[in-house]
């Protein structure tokens, strides 16, 4: 199966560990991975800030880049960015050159955990991680992409990992893309509430499917001098893997 890695600008600029872990996991499950070098960004930073005209080039570039390899699927390590790609058909519907391509790219793009669970039918990725962890569900992954099951389902099978539910998990962590930098006084109060709830769980590890949220929450933890280990779900599923533990779902999720 040919898979294009939609690396996202955040991973390209900041988090090589996330991209590496995702690639290794996908290859473990038989994916032949490609990384088109012209890809950049889904366009959210500017589009969501109101620079719609200035984002057109980013949209087109991203579509062309992701379609430059004739792959079966496109997989990204960020729920928010994948949700944005899924909205491309709506944004490009009046663009005669790109409307069809936008539909094509949206139809085969999946968030990493969603792809493992829903497309490949992975039940147990074979990972082992000793520790107490909690999971931050990102707003865009749950509300815009509509995926609230796959990360929990996969994390439940990680050997040695104790998952502790997070209070007020439905509240935004205050990232919001450029919101975090444009309205720091509001964003700070939101991330402090989130940090408080995470500390209350007693977890040592914070896991999420969105590097943006992790960058916000992790950065605040560091500023406040509170200890935490930040892990993207791909890193968790790539920890101490014993392939004999790998299992597949008997029934595919609907």
């Amino acid at each position: 199966m040919k898979v294009v890695i939609f690396s996202t600008c955040v991973v390209d600029l900041e988090f090589p560990n996330v991209g590496i872990a995702m690639t290794e996991v996908l290859e473990r499950f038989g994916c032949d991975c490609y990384l088109p070098k012209d890809q950049i960004c889904c366009g959210q930073p500017t589009f969501n800030s109101g620079y719609a005209k200035g984002t057109q080039r980013a949209f087109r570039n991203q579509i062309d880049a992701l379609l430059s390899v004739d792959a079966d699927y496109i997989v990204g390590p960020a729920g928010s960015c994948v949700a944005m790609i899924r909205e491309f058909p709506e944004f490009m519907k009046d663009d005669p050159q790109y409307a069809d391509k936008a539909r094509e790219v949206a139809a085969k793009t999946f968030e990493f955990s969603q792809f493992l669970w829903r497309v490949l039918g992975v039940e147990n990725a074979g990972a082992e991680l000793d520790g107490r962890a909690t999971y931050h569900r990102s707003c865009h992954m749950t509300r815009l992409l509509g995926e609230s099951e796959s990360p929990y389902a996969l994390l439940a099978h990680v050997k040695g990992l104790e998952m502790i539910p997070l209070e007020n998990a439905h509240d935004c962590c205050g990232f919001g893309g450029t919101f975090s930098a444009k309205e720091p006084e509001i964003s700070r109060q939101m991330v402090d509430a989130k940090v408080g709830h995470i500390v209350d769980t007693g977890a040592e590890i914070l896991i999420s499917c969105d590097p943006g949220c992790l960058m916000n929450i992790g950065g605040r933890f560091n500023r406040l001098g509170k200890p935490i280990k930040i892990m993207h779900i791909a890193e968790v599923l790539n920890s101490n893997v014993d392939e004999s533990r790998i299992s597949y779902l008997k029934q595919m999720p609907v």
Binding site: I5, S7, C9, V11, D12, L13, E14, P16, N17, G19, T23, K37, D38, C41, G43, P45, F47, N48, G50, Y51, A52, G54, T55, R57, A58, N61, A65, C139, H140, R143, N168, H170, C172, G176, G177, T178, F179, S180, A181, K182, E183, P184, E185, I186, R188, M190, V191, A193, L214, M215, N216, G219, R220, N222, R223, G225, P227, I228, K229, I230
Partner: protein, 497 residues
């Protein structure tokens, strides 16, 4: 009051809200309690998503044929013996109401809760124009705010959410209350005080939850019954409604009442759900003179525009009850009588971008509002739409942040520019980085993090540390290129052995 409650900049209001610890705790507690009540009461309806679709369809149909439904409604009110006045502006609405006050010689006005009368600043304007006139807000929360020297409301459903029982007691003591801060005692005092007022009132002013086009009736939803007394006792009633309050039929009103009560307060129905059309022949209660004032006040700006769906709003306030921004900055943070996500979308339409251009940015676009809205208004998308108009159409964004955003626009459009950014990210940000203890493991690197910088970098770093980007040789792209080189290729001799 008018729609704008403060001309301070957003940042200043946010800082003031942060000082109001009682308000913040009260909003958080109310949000969490409402979450459970709302979801439970909705679950009792069965398939809530289908109800939302129905609610959306009813509201969309009402807006699509708004002129026709308004005409039908107006004809029916007149057929029932009432008068209808269409007010294009708030001044026209106030002038008409003033005319009725003069003609009836009203001395004591009772009012039930109505956002649109707050929007047109009706209370203060009437009091200013009529010496000796007495006017009383009879909704408990609005009563508290009025007696607190017209304090600004903080929520469209729970206007006095920011007041605690001790504050309420102090306000009531000015009116002769001598008891303790027990909410039951306070409420009993207010009830007696307001009842006496009701009995001597000669003009009632109400809002309108829904106006039913095909029979000319007004639908009011309350828990205190004060709106019913406002309708039943005075000889004259004036209903003030935003022009989009229309529903086609009683069936539609019934469906929306069911959704409104659950969304607003988590009840299957509120204690009082009333339909009225003035006095019915042969009965003694109800107003002899019935006026309906239908207010535009810039609502037609939204009609036929990309913002039309905001007129679907049924004023349940659920978007405020889920908003993580509202949770911290409260109603006063928005500087509008319409706060929260609804207010951030509606205020710039009704009050203009000059006054409210900051509000569309007071959102992390988390989509909780869109998800909870009973009539499916895409609130977070409308906020992006406002941002687009503010930046792309009106060019109201300036300064360093604007330049940075334009640079990001360019940087995300040209692959070679982005590859350059990946290559030089580490070197570029290194001058801004400093070393420090690592608390967020597997995230902040020992070589340091960015703790300050210009424009948006500073906005980020005011609150949190930014990991120093990896050196180019350690980037994901470099890793991937090497990884691929080392992979056996199809056709490779070694791979085939």
């Amino acid at each position: 009051m008018g729609i704008q409650t403060s001309d301070k900049p957003l940042l200043e209001r946010v800082k003031e809200s942060e000082q109001d610890k009682f308000m913040q705790a009260s909003v958080a507690k109310s949000q969490d309690a409402q979450h459970i009540k709302r979801e439970d009461s909705r679950a009792l309806l069965g398939n809530w998503e289908q109800w939302r679709e129905l609610g959306e369809q009813i509201r969309q149909r009402a807006l699509k044929y708004l002129p026709d439904y308004l005409e039908q409604f107006s004809d029916n009110v007149e057929k029932n013996g009432g008068d209808v006045f269409f007010a294009a502006t708030e001044e026209e609405a106030v002038d008409y109401i003033q005319k009725v006050v003069k003609e009836t010689g009203a001395k004591r006005i009772v009012k039930s809760k109505s956002m649109v009368t707050t929007e047109i600043d009706l209370d203060k304007r009437l009091l200013a124009m009529n010496q000796g006139l007495q006017l009383m807000e009879t909704d408990l929360a609005e009563f508290i705010l009025q007696e607190d020297d017209w304090a600004e409301p903080t929520h469209i459903v729970f206007p006095a959410l920011s007041k605690n029982r001790d504050q309420v007691r102090e306000i009531f003591m000015k009116l002769g209350y001598e008891g303790d801060n027990d909410p039951m005692h306070l409420a009993r005092f207010a009830r007696k005080y307001l009842r006496e007022y009701f009995l001597k009132s000669d003009l009632g002013i109400t809002g309108c939850n829904f106006a039913v086009a095909d029979n000319g009736m007004i639908n009011l939803v309350t828990n205190e019954g004060n709106a019913d007394l406002t309708m039943a006792i005075p000889k004259t009633q004036i209903v003030v409604m935003g022009m989009e309050r229309i529903v086609p039929t009683m069936n539609d009103a019934e469906i929306l009442d069911n959704m409104l009560c659950r969304s607003a307060v988590g009840q299957k129905l509120t204690s009082y759900v009333t339909f009225e059309k003035g006095q019915v022949a042969g009965e003694t209660d109800g107003p002899e003179h019935f006026h309906v004032v239908i207010v535009d006040n810039n609502r037609s700006r939204a009609l036929g525009s990309e913002f039309q769906s905001i007129l679907q709003c049924i004023r349940c306030g659920a978007c405020m009850n889920v908003c993580p921004v509202y949770r911290h900055i409260g109603g006063h943070g928005y500087g509008s009588i319409y706060p929260g996500p609804l207010g951030a979308v509606l205020s710039p339409i009704l009050g203009g971008y000059q006054a409210f251009q900051e509000l569309p940015y007071a959102s992390s676009l988390c989509g909780a509002c869109t998800e909870v809205c009973p009539v499916k208004i895409p609130l977070h998308k409308l906020l992006i739409e406002h941002r687009r108009i503010i930046t792309d159409q009106r060019h109201m964004q300036h300064g360093l942040n604007n330049l940075m955003m334009e640079a990001i626009g360019i940087g995300t459009g040209f692959p070679w520019l982005f590859r350059t950014a990946v290559r030089f990210g580490h070197l570029g940000l290194k001058p801004l980085a400093s070393k420090g203890e690592v608390h967020a493991e597997n995230f902040i690197k020992p070589e340091g993090s960015v703790k300050g910088g210009p424009g948006l970098v500073g906005g980020w770093a005011d609150v949190r540390d930014l990991p120093l980007p990896p050196k180019n040789k350690d980037s994901f792209r470099q890793w991937f290129a090497k990884h691929k080189e080392n992979q056996p290729k199809p056709g490779d001799q070694k791979a085939n052995q």
